[in-house]
Amino acid sequence: MNHLKFVSNKIILFVFFSGLISFLFFGCAKKFPEQKDISGNNYVLLNQDSAKVNFPSDFKGKILVITFIYTNCPDICPMTTHNMQMVQQKLAKEGITGVQFAAISFDPSRDTPKVLKEYAEVRDMDLKNFIFLTGNKKNVYSIIHEFNFIAIPGDTTFVDKKYPVYFYTHTDKLFLVDKQGRIRNEYRGSKVNSQKLISDIKSLED
């Protein structure tokens, strides 16, 4: 009888620990399934100081929070970059380093490095770990497609025969990329829950 009880207890313990181990492994994996590995291809871009940047290889070893913008966007894109700026500041306060923030322009013909730099400066952005990128259209749109981001330019209309007005219809997303260059999560850029993003970043730190 005692032997049976001993065996029964062992089975219960085995089931409990098996369940716990499965939860720890598969539960975490489910939280951050690898969406796509973008480390295979490399593209040359320019940052806001006109310096060459290899994307994404230059960011390997860093957690990357990345979005796509155009600087003539007055409403949605600034909301996204502002949300990223808030997260950047919160992480800095907590002493969390190793996180790189990036915004790539999908309007490269207008968003030159100079324009990007002015965009950052007027918003008092800390460019120590926040980078703005542009480049030739082919490279930029190759990256955009890697992220399944969509940006469609509308027709340019001329107001008063002299003001070219154009807007993009675009996806409202920002992405979390791990240190190995794998997209791990995506968020609505203009309305991201900063606490959730920070929590996810911390989970990838380990």
Binding site: N72, V115, D160
Partner: protein
């Protein structure tokens, strides 16, 4: 006499058909675009219509609406905006806003700018908006 002035001031306040509050706009550089946001309250018993907005700081000023369709964000010009009787309409981020195109100057945080809101019934209302980070 003081009581008469106080009464007249109160009457004037009561008769003010539209109130505009919490006006702010985004920082941006000369030549670029920005957006103006505010809350407008229609105190009257009739619908009020914001016809347009004017300003000296931009070459073009348009009423705009951001919208989401099939997961994509877009923006379009709207002819005017109707504010229902005894209600408040918010021009807010991700929704209706006043689009400022081809800015004539840099808009730096904490500076203020003047705008004129032109209403169908209430005429022109002058407002001040502060440039806020965002």
């Amino acid at each position: 006499m003081a009581l008469v002035f106080a009464f007249l001031a109160l009457l004037n306040l009561h008769l003010q058909k539209v109130d505009v509050k919490n006006a702010w706009l985004r920082p941006a550089n000369k030549g670029m675009n920005s957006a103006l946001y505010f809350e407008v309250t229609n105190n009257s018993g009739k619908p009020e219509t914001l016809l347009n907005v004017s300003s000296n700081i931009a070459e073009l000023v348009q009423l705009h609406e951001s919208y989401i369709q099939k997961g994509m964000m877009g923006m379009r010009e709207v002819k005017d905006v109707v504010i229902k009787p005894h209600s408040t309409f918010s021009f807010k981020e991700g929704g209706y806003h006043v689009m400022l195109l081809f800015l004539k100057k840099n808009l730096k945080p904490n500076s203020t700018e003047v705008f004129f809101l032109h209403f169908k019934n209430s005429g022109t209302v002058k407002i001040k908006a502060v440039v806020k980070k965002g």
